[in-house]
């Protein structure tokens, strides 16, 4: 392994995060200059939230889940169904969605956390696909292949405050709040004792066990937190599109998050955010020019694995610390 560069100080990290938040806050105004539109920046930020949680799982704990889209999609569907059938305000639907998505992560996590490595990865894919098939076949409830339409996105009201997020730009800043929270929570988790234990598990699971940590429990927590992040991203996505479709739960979608993490740089503070932004942008860009965008994504992914396995951010950091 490489020599770890001196850990940047908390003050330095705060500064970097401040710059990050500023850049992301201005994103909807900058994106038209690179051929994007406000809606694309909303998607980029939603997937950044998704990828942040995933990175905690793969980048920091070293467990690969290939089924994160299940919690993303399940939360989105739940949010939609609750709002449509019970006619409750979106905020209640959001809470219900996040709750159900996280609960699914808890149940499945409990069932499979004993497994490691590829066994674990395969189980996450399989359980993820179960939700995919339920969404595409239970037509009466989910709308089947046609998707679930009519998910509301209008007035968000908490107590005396209300905010109209019908417009894409105002919805962007609604998502931005969650993005800031997600980034801070992840930073805090990674810096905390909990985060250190996760890293220990990643580096040497046996040793973590020997030192006396309940490795399985820490892994489960990490899995659940990633599930919560995915669920939050999922409800925001459902609101953004006002529509959910089975492919949001598909393992290809789960794979996309893996790609985002790897392209951005796993186990870094900014990597998954950069990765989510770049990959979402590229997907949008290539699908505009060719219907074979999946091929282009595949090529990019293969190139990154072969030549830049540390991702964009890892590459940048390494250059700067001069250890390459």
């Amino acid at each position: 392994m490489r020599q770890a560069p001196a850990p940047p100080s908390v003050a330095m990290d705060c500064l970097r995060m401040g710059i990050l938040f500023l850049v992301v806050a201005l994103l909807p105004f900058m994106i038209p200059y690179v051929g994007g539109y406000v809606g694309l920046s909303v998607e980029m930020v939603i997937f950044a939230i998704f990828a942040l949680g995933f990175d905690l799982l793969l980048g920091y704990t070293g467990i690969l889940s290939f089924g994160q889209a299940a919690y993303f999609g399940l939360a989105g569907y739940t949010m939609g169904l609750v709002c449509i059938h019970f006619n409750v305000p979106p905020i209640v639907g959001m809470c219900a969605g996040v709750l159900v998505g996280s609960l699914a992560a808890v149940v499945i996590g409990l069932l499979i956390i004993r497994k490691t490595g590829i066994y674990f990865a395969m189980l996450t894919i399989a359980f993820g696909q179960m939700f995919f098939f339920i969404a595409s076949r239970w037509t009466d409830v989910t709308g089947g292949e046609d998707g679930l339409t009519g998910i509301p996105r209008n007035l968000i009201s908490i107590g005396p405050f209300s905010w109209n997020v019908t417009n894409d730009l105002s919805f962007y800043y609604f998502v931005f709040i969650f993005f800031v929270l997600a980034t801070l929570v992840k930073y805090w988790l990674v810096q905390s004792h909990f985060g250190l234990v996760l890293k220990t598990i990643r580096e040497n699971e046996t040793r973590a066990q020997m030192v006396g940590y309940n490795v399985r429990r820490y892994k489960l927590y990490s899995f659940i937190i990633a599930g919560i992040f995915a669920a939050v991203a999922g409800v925001l996505y459902a609101m953004f599109l006002r529509y959910m479709f089975p492919q949001t739960l598909d393992w290809i979608r789960s794979g996309n998050v893996v790609i985002m993490g790897l392209v951005g740089g796993l186990g870094t503070l900014f990597g998954p955010i950069v990765g989510a932004g770049v990959v979402t942008y590229l997907m949008n860009f290539t699908s505009y020019y060719t219907k074979y965008w999946q091929f282009v994504m595949g090529v990019i992914f293969v190139v990154f694995i072969l030549f830049f396995p540390r991702g964009i951010w890892g590459f940048v950091e390494r250059r700067r610390s001069g250890t390459s």
Binding site: L64, G117, Y119, A126, F133, W138, G255, Q294, F295, V302
Partner: protein, 294 residues
């Protein structure tokens, strides 16, 4: 719903289930051996299966159906070996995760390549004329082709079993799934073993694709569609186990066929329920190897 299950239907669904099941076994055996030996999920397994079916689409006018049963596995076995030795091998020194993600990327690419070459539309293929009809036993009627698929797969799987259990190369591969370090320590060129295993797995997947083409038709995402039941088969059967794949495959095939008959909307979900039950009762899978990836 359940009242439709008369004896002829039951027998018919058993035949359908075994035809699907033996094909799944053919796929899963390669997958499970690769997992046991190389400790990676090979995501290209699905697209190799699809390419097998597309080989028939391209060659059938020149050669007819039968030579494809030889040509497809040979061609795609070679492609698999080429892919392993030129690309996948480069990342062995790293975390197994990278190998797995590399195959995922390759699978994405190849699926779209299939679309570029053969288009989005599905190709219906009919069974070769010798096997076109049905076997009419008055009480029950079998599709000749499905019976052929079952017999052919059974024969082939016996050959695979013989290869793994009775030939030195096969024994070495099996030994590798139990204790890879020891195999390396004994001076066996493990990279060669990997290439052979990958090639055999690719060939079997392609063959399954050829055999399934007249049953389910040929369409670009057919590979990712079959990959999921295969994963379930491997999990139910137990990773790295030949007999586990056989039992798991037949079980999934039969259960799925009966669910199609009884309650078709559940036919995909039911295999996952089966998987969850097996996991709860026997986390290692039916014939899982003790200590492997646990």
């Amino acid at each position: 719903m359940i009242f439709h299950l008369t004896l002829p239907t039951i027998i018919n669904q058993l035949v359908n289930g075994f035809a699907l099941g033996t094909l799944l076994v053919l796929m899963a055996v390669g997958l499970t051996i690769i997992m046991g030996l190389m400790r990676v999920i090979n995501f290209t397994h699905g697209v190799l299966y699809a390419l097998g079916a597309y080989t028939v689409v391209s060659l059938i006018t020149y050669t007819g159906f039968w030579p494809c049963l030889i040509l497809a596995p040979v061609l795609l076995g070679l492609l698999g070996m080429g892919m392993e030795s030129s690309l996948i091998r480069r990342v062995y020194a790293r975390d197994p995760l990278h190998t797995m993600l590399l195959t995922f990327g390759l699978a994405l690419m190849i699926e779209d390549l299939i679309r570029m070459i053969w288009g989005d539309a599905a190709y219906p293929l009919s069974a070769p004329s010798v096997l076109a009809g049905v076997i009419d036993l008055k009480l029950v009627i079998f599709s000749k082709y499905r019976v052929f698929v079952i017999l052919f797969c059974a024969g082939l799987l016996t050959a695979v079993w013989y290869f793994l259990e009775r030939t030195p190369l096969g024994r070495t591969i099996l030994a590798g799934t139990f204790d890879r370090e020891m195999v390396v320590a004994l001076g066996i060129p493990i990279n060669l073993l990997f290439t052979v295993t990958f090639g055999v797995g690719a060939g079997l997947a392609a063959l399954a694709g050829v055999l399934n083409a007249p049953i389910q038709g040929v369409f670009p995402p057919m590979g990712s569609a079959i990959l999921m039941p295969c994963f379930v088969v491997v999990i139910i059967g137990g990773m790295g186990s030949f007999w586990g794949a056989v039992i798991g495959g037949l079980l999934v095939g039969v259960v799925q066929s009966f669910t199609v008959e009884i309650f078709s909307a559940m036919s995909e979900v039911v295999v996952f329920i089966l998987m969850a039950i097996v996991l709860l009762v026997r986390p290692r899978g039916i014939a899982g190897i003790e200590g492997l990836l646990e």
